[in-house]
C-alpha cells in the first residue's frame, strides 16, 4: 500500500481547481501550471522507479479490501504511461504558453487541461472497470471543453459530432459493464480475471469482450470508428491537437491492452488473432491511405495517428511477448514523435498562417532548426533506422512472421512505405521547394516554440539509440502483463 499512487490523480485535480480562481490572471495561471506540470514529471518518474522495484503497487481507497473497494493499481505499464503523459503534458503546456490566445486562456483553458490529465492518469491507474468508465468520462468531458474552447464556427460544428459519438460510446461502455457484472458479479480487474478464468470464458463472455473492444476502439480510433478523429483534431489550437493526438487515442489502446491481456485472454484464436489483427490491418491501411490523399499538414498527421494505432493493436493481436513488447515500445515512440510532429505543425502554422502544405514552401532556408527537427521526427515515424520507429516496428513485424501472420506483416511493411511517402510529401512541399514566404514570414522567429519541442525530438533519437535497454524494459513489461497471475495475486493478496 502506498498513498503516493493517488497523487497523479489528485494533484492535477487540486491544481485545476485552484486555477479556476485565477482564470482572469494569465500570468498567475502560467506560473502555477508551469511549475505543476514539472512537479508532475518528477512525481511520475519517481513512481516509475517505484513500480520497477516493487513490480505492482496497489492502494485500496478508504481502506476497503480489494474486490469490494476501489483499488488503484500501479504496475510497470501504468507507470510508464503515466510518465509519458506528464512529459507530453509539460511539453504541450509550454508550447501553449507561446501560442494560445488570451481569450482561450480566460475561458478556463488551464483548469480543463489539468482535469484532462486527471482523467488520463486515472484511466491508467484504476483497478476496476467501472472506475475506468468514470475516468474516461472525466477525460472526455475535459476534452469536449478543450476541443470547443475558443468557440469558432468550425469547432462548434465538429465538436458536436465528436461529443455525440462519444456519448454513444459511453452508453455502450455502461452496457458492457452491466453485462459483465451480471455474468461474473464483480467489476474489479483482478477479480474479473480470476472469475473469467474459472468459467473458462464461454461464448457469452467473449461477446462482452468484443463489446468492450468496440467501446475502446471508438475511443482509440480503430477501423471503422476512426472517422471523427481527423475532423475534430483539426479545429483546436496546435498545442491541444498535439496533446490529443499524442495522448487520447492511446488511453483507448491502453484499455484494450489491459482488458485483453488480463481478462479476455482465453480465446486468442478468435479475439486476438482473428478480430484484433484484422481490425489492425484495416486501421493501418485506411489511415495511411487517408494521409496520402490529404494536403493539409494537421490532417495528414491526424490520419497517421489512425494508421499507427493499428500497429499498436497489431502487436497485441499477435500476442507473443515479443510482439506485445514491440507494441509497448511503439506506443512510447509514437506518443513522443506524434506530439513533436503536431507541435512542429503548430510552429509552421505560426510562421505561415496556414496548414495547407501547397501554400508553403522553402522553410529550410529561413528556419533550418525547425526543418531538421521535423526531418528527424518524420523519418523516425516512418521507421528508418537508427531511430525509434524502426526498433519499435521491428519486433512487431518479427513477431508477426514468427507466428505465421504473413498478411498482416506484409500490410505493416507496406504501410511503413506509404508513411514515408506522405512524410516526404510534407517535407517536399513545406520545407523544400521554392520560397513562398513573405519577408515578414521569412524573419518570424519561433525559437521559443522550439524549446518545448526539442526535448521530444531528443527523446525520439534517444529511444532509437538506446534501443537495447528500452526494449528490455518493454519486454519486462510485456512479460509482466502477459502473466495475469502477477496482477491478480498482487491485488487480491493470495
Amino acid at each position: 500500500m502506498s498513498n503516493l499512487i493517488i497523487l497523479p490523480i489528485i494533484f492535477p485535480f487540486i491544481i485545476g481547481a485552484v486555477l479556476v480562481f485565477f482564470a482572469k490572471k494569465s500570468r498567475a495561471q502560467r506560473i502555477i501550471s508551469g511549475v505543476s506540470v514539472l512537479a508532475m514529471v518528477g512525481l511520475t518518474a519517481y513512481l516509475a522507479i517505484m513500480a520497477y522495484q516493487q513490480d505492482t503497487v496497489i492502494l485500496e481507497a478508504g481502506d476497503w479490501a480489494a474486490p469490494y473497494g476501489i483499488t488503484l493499481v500501479l504496475d510497470n505499464l501504468a507507470a510508464l504511461m503515466l510518465l509519458i503523459t506528464s512529459i507530453l503534458g509539460a511539453a504541450c503546456l509550454f508550447f501553449a504558453f507561446g501560442t494560445i490566445s488570451e481569450k482561450r486562456e480566460r475561458y478556463y483553458f488551464y483548469p480543463f487541461y489539468f482535469f484532462l490529465l486527471v482523467g488520463v492518469n486515472g484511466s491508467f491507474l484504476t483497478g476496476d472497470i467501472f472506475n475506468l468508465f468514470v475516468f474516461f468520462e472525466v477525460m472526455l468531458l475535459s476534452s469536449y471543453v478543450l476541443i470547443v474552447n475558443g468557440g469558432t464556427k468550425y469547432q462548434l460544428r465538429e465538436s458536436f459530432k465528436y461529443v455525440i459519438l462519444n456519448i454513444f460510446g459511453s452508453a455502450l461502455f455502461v452496457m458492457a459493464v452491466a453485462w459483465i457484472y451480471s455474468i461474473t458479479g464483480t467489476l474489479n480487474f483482478a477479480h474479473l480475471s480470476e472469475r473469467v478464468a474459472q468459467l473458462e470464458q464461454p461464448g457469452i463472455l467473449t461477446v462482452v469482450g468484443v463489446m468492450f473492444f468496440i467501446v475502446f476502439a471508438a475511443k482509440g480510433a480503430l477501423f471503422p470508428l476512426y472517422f471523427w478523429l481527423p475532423r475534430s483534431y483539426f479545429g483546436p489550437p496546435a498545442a491541444l491537437a498535439a496533446l490529443f493526438g499524442g495522448l487520447l487515442t492511446k488511453v483507448g489502446i491502453y484499455a484494450i491492452i489491459r482488458v485483453f491481456t488480463l481478462i479476455f485472454y482465453h480465446e486468442p484464436l478468435f479475439t486476438h488473432k482473428g478480430l484484433i489483427v484484422t481490425v489492425a490491418g484495416f486501421t493501418m491501411l485506411f489511415g495511411v491511405l487517408g494521409a496520402v490523399s490529404q494536403y493539409d499538414f494537421k490532417r495528414i498527421l491526424s490520419y497517421h495517428i489512425i494508421s499507427q494505432v493499428g500497429y499498436m493493436v497489431m502487436g497485441l493481436g499477435i500476442f507473443t511477448p515479443l510482439a506485445v513488447a514491440g507494441a509497448i515500445y511503439y506506443i512510447v515512440h509514437h506518443m513522443f514523435v506524434k506530439t513533436a510532429l503536431f507541435l512542429l505543425a503548430g510552429a509552421t502554422e505560426k510562421i505561415t498562417g496556414t496548414t495547407n502544405i501547397k501554400e508553403m514552401g522553402g522553410l529550410i532556408k529561413s528556419h533550418p532548426v525547425l526543418t531538421w527537427s521535423f526531418f528527424i521526427a518524420a523519418i523516425s515515424l516512418a521507421g528508418i533506422p537508427p531511430l525509434s520507429g524502426f526498433f519499435s516496428k521491428f519486433p512487431i513485424i518479427l513477431g508477426g512472421f514468427q507466428e505465421g501472420q504473413w498478411v498482416i506483416s506484409a500490410v505493416a511493411l507496406l504501410v511503413g512505405l506509404l508513411t514515408l511517402l506522405s512524410m516526404m510529401k510534407i517535407f517536399g512541399y513545406v520545407f523544400w521547394g521554392e520560397n513562398k514566404l513573405t519577408d515578414r514570414q521569412y524573419s518570424t522567429s519561433v525559437t521559443n516554440l522550439l524549446i518545448p519541442i526539442a526535448p521530444l525530438v531528443a527523446f525520439s533519437v534517444i529511444l532509437g539509440l538506446a534501443a537495447e535497454p528500452i526494449f528490455t524494459y518493454s519486454l519486462h513489461i510485456a512479460e509482466q502483463i502477459l502473466e495475469p497471475s502477477n496482477y491478480v495475486d498482487a491485488v487480491l493478496k493470495e
Binding site: M1, I6, F13, A17, V18, A61, G62, D63
Partner: protein
Amino acid sequence: MIKEPNDMMFRVFIRLIAVIVVTFSIYLFFSGHNAPGGGFIGGLMSAIAILVIYLVFGIDRIKAALPFNYTYMMSIGLLLAIATGIISWIAGYPYLKQFFDYFQLPFFGEVELTTALIFDLGVYLLVVGAAMTFILTIVEDDS
C-alpha cells in the same frame, strides 16, 4: 425571460416553497450518510430552490441579493472533497478512509458526525455551482 415579474400568486407562495425546498435539501444532505440522500441530491434540490427564486424575482435583483460566484463555488467544493481524502492520508491511513464519532450536540441530541460529511459538503457545493452555472449561462443570454 421575465424582466417585470407579474405573477402575483407565484410571488406570494414562492417564499413558502423556497423555504420548504431548502429545508428538505438540507435534510437530504444530512441523511445521506446512512439513508437515501446525500450531497448530490441535496445540491440539486437547493439549485432548484435558487432557480425558482430567480424565475420569480428576476435575475438582476437576485444577483444583488445572492452574490455568489458559482464557478468559485464549484472549485471550492472540489477542493473540499479532495481535502477530506488527504486528512486520512496525513493520519497515516489509505486515501479517503473515513472517520466517525458520536457527539452530544445541544438541541439535536446525540449525532453521528463523519468525515464523509465534509466530502458530501464538497459535493453539495459542486453540484449547486455546476447546476447554477449551466442554467444561468443559457438563461442570462439575451440575444
